[in-house]
């Protein structure tokens, strides 16, 4: 592809209006464009001295191939070739790269590192206050001696990591400052620090935010969205990207449903509307209701991971 005029390949580039020849076509047997161009540049067209006339738009690509004397792009209107002294050399570079490509590459590295140790990694996402940490603490207690670790993401404080550590599990707190999500680089550093044993389970508790964490792959096996029944049935519709990205939705705090008039069927319907594939579990981390279903789901994912290698 020619990055000056974009005349080949997929890149589109508007070179501007062509330079009109000052001569009538009959008086310009070689190339009216060449004559016009060389007149502008104050050069003799090589084609007059050459035994054969050069084609009007010759491209012998491999560094554009055009000699300095017969570069026949319509100069002068816009970004030009380098043969006009003193003019800037604008080019068009096809990038075609996702803005998040750096994060995606780091996430792929995390995923490889986790797979090598058969570690099941789950990215827990939700709004603030949905009960992620309570759910995790109860999950850790129920999992007993199985190897696991937690990466905690919050803008400030180590309150959540402290709660996790109180259960005896390992936890790394990441404070993102003003950042609204964890990214793959942060998780990569935490993985190095954790040095997880074979077959462990890693819970990544993302920053409480139903928007941005949806777009940042961390290298996890699945996103688990936690939605408490006090938040409102419309949340999946209002923040669809998150629930579309999640494999499992946990409807938490179902013990409170009767007190806040929560319509569990509407929660389920709205979740399925934005993600027909989504799995849904109804849980109360506080009373333990539905926890067994969640533990079974975890066990199933862990055996999948073990078989995948």
């Amino acid at each position: 592809m020619c990055t000056v005029c974009g005349c080949h390949g997929t890149v589109t580039f508007d070179p501007g209006p062509e330079v009109k020849s000052p001569l009538p076509p009959a008086a310009a047997p070689v190339s009216s464009l060449a004559a016009a161009v060389s007149a502008v540049a104050g050069m003799t067209p090589r084609s007059r001295a050459a035994p054969k006339p050069a084609p009007a738009h010759h491209h012998d690509h491999g560094g554009c191939g055009c000699g300095p004397g017969h570069h026949l792009h319509p100069y002068g209107q816009r970004a030009a070739g380098g043969s006009v002294p003193g003019m800037s050399q604008e080019r068009l570079i096809a990038v075609e790269t996702s803005i998040l490509s750096k994060n995606d590459a780091l996430a792929a590295e995390n995923r490889r590192a986790l797979a090598a140790r058969q570690v099941l990694a789950l990215n827990l996402v939700s709004s603030p206050g949905s009960g992620k940490t309570t759910l995790l603490c109860e999950t850790i207690r129920a999992m007993g001696a199985r190897p696991l670790a937690v990466i905690e993401g919050d803008q400030q404080t180590s309150a959540d990591a402290d709660r996790i550590r109180a259960t005896g599990a390992r936890a790394i707190q990441i404070n993102t400052g003003k950042g609204c999500h964890l990214d793959a680089a942060m998780v990569g550093h935490a993985l190095t620090a954790l040095n997880l044993p074979q077959g462990a389970c890693l819970f990544i508790e993302n920053v409480g935010n139903l928007v941005c964490p949806a777009g940042f792959d961390l290298g996890e096996d699945a996103k688990v969205a936690i939605l408490s029944v006090t938040e409102g049935e419309d949340k999946p519709l209002k923040y669809p990207a998150m629930f579309t990205a999640a494999r499992l939705a946990i409807l938490n705090k179902i013990d409170l449903a009767p007190y806040c008039g929560a319509d569990l069927a509407a929660y389920r319907a709205n979740l399925r509307r934005v993600n027909p594939h989504i799995e849904i579990l109804e849980v109360s981390a506080r009373t333990g209701e539905g926890m067994q279903g969640w533990l079974n789901w975890l066990a199933a994912r862990q055996s999948e991971k073990a078989e995948a290698l």
């Binding site: 970004a79 570079i93 096809a94 990038v95 594939h277």
Partner: protein, 110 residues
Amino acid sequence: MSLAEGIREIVLDQARQHGFARVTCLRLEIGRFAGVEKPALEFAFDVVMRGSPAEGARLEMLDLPGRALCFDCETTVEIDSRLSPCPRCGGGRLLPEGGDEMRIKDMEVA
């Protein structure tokens, strides 16, 4: 802001690779479902690009359509929003398949 920082990283990579000093125009492709707030990205772009080859560059954003698979009529359709019903059969169960792109398409450099 993270998006603008992602763009800056790519600009710096490309500058090393292609050896240019300045970006005059940068074109992005943004899917309809990407959830990008364009004025916010423009603001962040201006701030984040300071001191980089793309300082002062023109930012153009091209829209890409939203595509989804309808679970009722089993076809891929174009929809305006994630919650739109299927334009073919009126079904409400659609799984987005495209439209969350956030890509740098190309850049004009000098």
